[in-house]
């Protein structure tokens, strides 16, 4: 990736699409991280994330308000 491209995402020029994205709330440093990966790595990273979320959902217990308060106190 070129220095100019890195700079575009790290220091978005005023009026650019990148500046509008930052204003919208996008963290372009994460976009830059993705762009440094190969396309296969981007897919594998996505797969790992999907799997992590699925595992988290499977392992999560739903706590009621009282349980949640008890947990915080412990």
């Amino acid at each position: 990736m070129s220095v100019e491209s890195e700079d575009y995402f790290l220091n978005p020029p005023p009026g650019s699409a990148a500046a509008r994205a930052v204003e919208f709330g996008i963290d372009l440093t994460l976009t830059l991280e993705n762009l440094r990966l190969t396309p296969e790595e981007r897919i594998r990273k996505l797969d790992e994330f999907i799997l992590s979320v699925a595992r988290l959902k499977a392992s999560a217990r739903i706590l009621g308000p009282r349980d949640a308060a008890d947990n915080q106190n412990n």
Partner: protein, 173 residues
């Protein structure tokens, strides 16, 4: 059946193994362009010629594809003729979820999707990926909240791609 741990990679390989003519669209296309917006499954726009429908049907049969979110007793024969009679399908398979679109809103059919598509080498196969400008058009046309949220980042990536191309042109002249 063992759990699927490569939700995107496995369906891609399936399509590659069966030489299915298709264009990667949706969130996975956005991921390939560098977007951080998350996709949950693979969406492709497929060619509707008879040979491709036959290859697609064989591929889907090999992974026990079932229509997603339909009553289990709904009669459905998975073959090329059924694919020909329909257009857009959402499947759950042994290789992961796979959404097949005959037409992409804001873009058109396979012939329009493949035009200008960028080819990516993935897992030993070549896959056309919907051109980023068309991806933006498709997401805008879809108009769902999750699509609209992805637009500012995609537009930034596209703007930078155009600047890189312009710089490359200047270097060559």
């Amino acid at each position: 059946m063992p759990p699927i741990i490569k939700i995107i990679e496995e369906p891609l390989k399936l399509l590659g193994q069966h030489a299915v003519e298709c264009v990667i669209i949706g969130g996975v296309a956005a991921t390939l362009y560098g977007s951080t917006i998350l996709a949950n499954d693979l969406d492709v726009c497929y060619a509707r010629n008879a040979e491709n429908l036959a290859r697609l049907a064989t591929a889907l049969q090999s992974v026990n594809a079932k229509l997603r979110n339909v009553p289990p007793d709904l009669p459905f024969i998975l073959d090329a003729e059924t694919l020909r009679r329909g257009l857009n399908f959402t499947f759950t398979t042994d290789a992961g979820s796979l959404d097949l679109l005959g037409e992409v809103r804001g873009v058109g059919f396979y012939e329009q999707a493949i035009s200008g598509a960028i080819t990516y080498e993935l897992f030993g196969y070549s896959f056309p990926v919907l051109e980023i400008q068309k991806l933006i058009l498709a997401k805008r046309a879809a108009g769902r909240a999750k699509d609209m949220v992805s637009l500012p980042e995609l537009e930034a990536i596209r703007e930078r791609q155009l600047q890189d191309l312009s710089a490359e042109d200047k270097r060559q002249t």
